[in-house]
């Protein structure tokens, strides 16, 4: 079990890295507008679905 003397400090270093990444994200406005990002992906998909069939309508089937 003495491996914990090595693994736990290693985990601590990872923790520090995670906290640093989190603070960086907050400072760079990654948490500013959560509502919009949550929805954006849905809309883009729809746009493509709506836009794609149009040119295909005109191409004759092979």
């Amino acid at each position: 079990m003495d491996v914990i003397y090595f693994l736990i400090p290693l985990a601590l270093i990872l923790l520090v890295a995670a906290v640093a990444a989190f603070f960086w994200a907050v400072r760079h406005d990654q948490f500013e507008d959560l509502d919009r990002e949550a929805n954006r992906i849905l809309f883009d998909e729809d746009l493509q679905r709506d836009a794609k069939p149009r040119p295909q309508d005109r191409t004759p089937p092979p």
Binding site: Y5, A18, V19, D33, R36
Partner: protein, 817 residues
């Protein structure tokens, strides 16, 4: 009034389609009804750019919350002004690539579909380099290439899809909000990560306590827990210590005092126990406790920021410009606040008068409705005084500014408003009252418990003290009302009511009297055509289309009543006669429309107007009178319904109007309102309100005008209409987002429901503490269990508050979109 007749509602904005309107747009293969040409144009644009799915995705679109698509013509007409480089200096930045950048405030955003629509539409415009819209702050950052496009083109593009955008310079308060929010996020995040780690080590220690653990491992785990807990204890919990210190200095108890006491005792005694190889460490409790408390505070802060942001948004008035004349009469654009007494300015038709001034040249009609509530323009000649903020309707005017901006009528009104606000009846929030006594009680009880155990069994005294402090932590108590208010605020926003003060919800509950302003609140605040009486052999459609084509030439409020009608293109040679009417040629005849004395000049056989009341407009040719039109400021379609419901609930309704024409009394009679006061100045209105309050009544005021602002500020609680003046919106406690009054009745329902939830929450929180505290004092609850109990009781409070949102699902019919 006529909502039972109008069967269909507008597919774009949700308002009922007026009878006889036949407009539609083909959306995804189905013809959808539209209520006005404005909505039709917007819907056509949306379909034209291939973004029909906007209609599938939008949310929160109760009728009327969609901004009216009819964007005011003055707004679009004066857009080129924004391209003036001198004016742009204060809000446009040029970045390194010679691109220009601006922050725009976009009005009317309700959901992410709006954001998506605007962003995509803008990105498809030429010259737009970057564009990003923040959904919660309604701010858009746009970067463009000045070679390819202009600011006015960008604003016009946004208007094409139905939103109004204005240049915006961020307020200082906003920077503060942003900083606070970032710090709180970091504190919360650190506490969360820390708590997870420490809990992991704690599981090891707990298991070790039961199964046996190597003392070296136990010592190591305790050290590591302490190290991870330290940043949480110092950085994340810092706000608690700060607040507690402030409370102690001002000798007022708050819950941060007991929180800080628990944290410090737990942290210090845990390190003590690490060094002395004592029985317990409480690092896990410290970090969990911090995390849960911060989580509650975080939600509370988010809610506070949201209401602060919306009030900043409302108080932001667009940058007002003026055309100052130099010695050679050349106009140059300057911000209005830079005008000084003695400056000469040019005000074109359709522009807002930049300051209190005297007329040097010109003859025009001034719309003073924002000041007096009187919506017919008043004629002003050379030498007459005009007030800043009123609208020049007909002809260009040259003015001499007579007062510096800070002494203007507008500023005086603002001072009246400030005074009224400071005298506003204050409401003590239920939770504050309770919490203050509660915390003092808990501290005393814990110390007594500690003293007792110290005497009996000193080694148990510390953890019992901790358990008592943690288990009775008034988290649930402190969350009881904020969560209910947050949930209610969200529910209210969904039905189109934006609450901008934190007390709005508790104040609304006690309302006994509802006072309405007339123009713009009970009525639509604009004229519309209500009756057409053809006099000659032309039918109704023909005379209406003739009138519409003629009146297109004028921006007079009465003329605008005809703008929604479809005109024809065979009418030519228009000319507008100020304050009289419009003339034009049709099929070789001279046609006139306007005041009977003007249109019917020289005619002998004009029949009298069919009714003696109301505004009548005459259309005549050179030979004969062709038609009478009645224009009225119509009641909002749901006004009658609302009044009936309020009276049914036992609330007294009042009308308080600045209008002296008797229209207020007419409307009161129509709606069955007995308390009417018309011809009232802002001071009169405030006095009326004070006399009601002196009789112990709790007054809800609804208004829209500048003259309502002091009353809105002084009322126990007040609501402003969305198209009201900025000052009215700032003065009010909340703003109705749409064109309809229906949300008011749901507002009262949601408020009742949230008050019920608040009481349940408080009862639960108090009950829980009353049971848990004696148990902890008796030593039955170890600290880890008390932390769980504390979290669970808070969680129950939060879940209960979420039920408020269900009010909407039950009581407001699903909005088809």
């Amino acid at each position: 009034m006529s909502d039972s007749l109008a069967g269909e509602s507008c597919f774009h904005c949700g308002l009922p389609v007026p009878l006889g309107t036949d407009l539609s747009v083909n959306i995804k293969g189905t013809a959808r009804a539209m209520c006005c040409p404005g909505c039709q144009a917007v819907a056509q644009t949306i379909v034209g750019i291939g973004m029909e799915s906007y209609y599938d995705h939008r949310e929160n679109c109760a009728p009327g919350t969609i901004p009216s698509a009819e964007i005011v013509p003055e707004f679009l007409g004066n857009l080129q002004d924004w391209d003036d480089p001198a004016l742009q200096q204060s809000f446009v930045h040029t970045n390194s690539d010679a691109h220009q950048e601006i922050t725009l405030m976009v009005n009317g955003i309700t959901c992410s579909a709006c954001v998506w629509l605007i962003e995509h539409h803008l990105k498809s415009q030429p010259g737009i380099v970057q564009c990003q819209l923040n959904m919660s702050s309604h701010r858009a950052r746009v970067v463009w290439d000045p070679q390819q496009t202009s600011l006015s083109a960008i604003i016009r593009a946004i208007a094409q899809v139905g939103y109004k955008a204005e240049p915006y310079s961020p307020a200082q308060q906003e920077a503060a909000i942003r900083k606070e929010s970032q710090q709180a996020t970091m504190r919360l995040g650190l506490a969360g990560l820390g708590a997870m780690q420490v809990m992991m080590y704690a599981v090891g220690l707990y298991l070790g306590a039961f199964e046996g653990i190597d003392p070296g491992h136990e010592y190591f785990l305790r050290w590591i827990s302490g190290i991870v807990c330290t940043p949480v204890f110092f950085y994340s919990s810092w706000p608690f210590y700060l607040n507690a210190w402030r409370a102690i200095r001002t000798r007022r108890m708050n819950m941060d005092v007991s929180v800080s006491a628990a944290l410090i005792i737990a942290y210090v005694s845990s390190w003590w126990s690490v060094f002395t190889h004592g029985r317990e460490v409480y690092f896990d409790s410290v970090s969990m406790f911090t995390f849960f408390l911060l989580l509650g505070r975080f939600f509370e802060m988010k809610m506070r920021h949201r209401s602060q942001e919306s009030s900043i948004r409302l108080s932001h008035s667009s940058i007002q410009t003026a055309r100052r004349l130099d010695d050679d009469d050349n106009p140059s654009l300057v911000p209005a606040e830079r005008l000084r007494k003695g400056d000469r300015v040019l005000v074109r038709a359709g522009e807002v008068i930049p300051g209190d001034a005297r007329i040097l040249g010109g003859d025009s009609a001034i719309d003073e409705s924002m000041l007096t509530g009187e919506h017919l323009p008043v004629r002003k000649l050379v030498g007459d005084m005009v007030t800043g903020g009123t609208l020049n309707v007909e002809q260009p005017l040259t003015l001499e500014i007579t007062r510096d901006p800070q002494d203007s009528t507008l500023s005086t009104l603002r001072r009246l408003l400030d005074r009224a606000e400071s005298e506003k009846p204050s409401i003590t929030l239920m939770a504050d009252r309770l919490a203050r006594h509660f915390v003092a009680g808990v501290l005393v009880a814990s110390l007594l418990g500690f003293a007792f155990w110290y005497w009996h069994s000193p080694e148990d005294s510390i953890w019992i003290l901790l358990s008592m402090l943690v288990v009775s932590c008034p988290c649930a108590l402190s969350l009881a009302t904020p969560t209910a208010v947050t949930a209610a605020t969200a529910a209210l926003a969904n039905i189109g009511f934006l609450s901008t003060r934190s007390h709005t919800i508790e104040s609304l509950r006690a309302v006994t009297d509802v006072v309405f302003d007339k123009t713009g609140t009970l009525t639509e605040g604009r004229f519309s055509l209500t009756r057409t009486v053809p006099l000659a052999d032309l039918d109704k459609n023909t005379v209406e289309s003739l009138a519409a084509s003629l009146e297109q030439a004028s921006e007079h409020p009465i003329a605008r009543a005809f703008h929604p009608l479809t005109g024809r293109n065979d009418v030519t040679d228009f000319s507008v006669i100020p304050n009289e009417g419009v003339q034009g040629r049709w099929q070789g005849q001279q046609l006139r429309i306007g005041k009977p004395g003007f249109a019917g000049a020289g005619l002998t056989n004009v029949p009298p107007a069919p009714e003696s009341t109301g505004q009548w407009v005459l259309l005549a040719s050179e030979q004969q009178a062709l038609a009478w039109f009645k224009v009225e400021d119509q009641l909002r379609y749901d006004a009658a319904d609302l009044i009936r419901l309020l009276q049914h609930e036992g609330r007294t309704c009042h009308i308080l109007s600045g209008d002296g024409s008797g229209h207020a009394r007419e409307i009161a009679a129509m709606l069955g309102i007995e308390q009417v006061r018309d011809n009232a100045s802002p001071q009169d209105k405030l006095a009326y309100l004070k006399s009601l309050q002196a009789h112990g009544r709790h007054v809800l005021m609804l208004g829209d005008g500048l003259n309502d602002a002091p009353v809105l500020a002084g009322a126990d609680v007040s609501i402003a209409m969305s198209d009201g003046t900025d000052l009215a919106k700032v003065a009010a406690d909340g703003v109705l987002l749409g064109q309809s009054l229906t949300p008011v009745k749901h507002i009262l329902g949601i408020v009742r429901q949230s008050y019920r939830v608040m009481r349940q929450n408080l009862a639960w929180a108090l009950g829980y503490n009353i049971i848990a505290l004696p148990l902890a004092a008796a030593g039955f609850v170890p600290p880890w269990l008390s932390a769980i109990g504390m979290s669970a009781s808070s969680l129950i409070v939060v879940m209960n508050a979420l039920r408020i949102n269900r009010y909407n699902e039950r009581n407001t019919a699903p909005q088809g979109s």
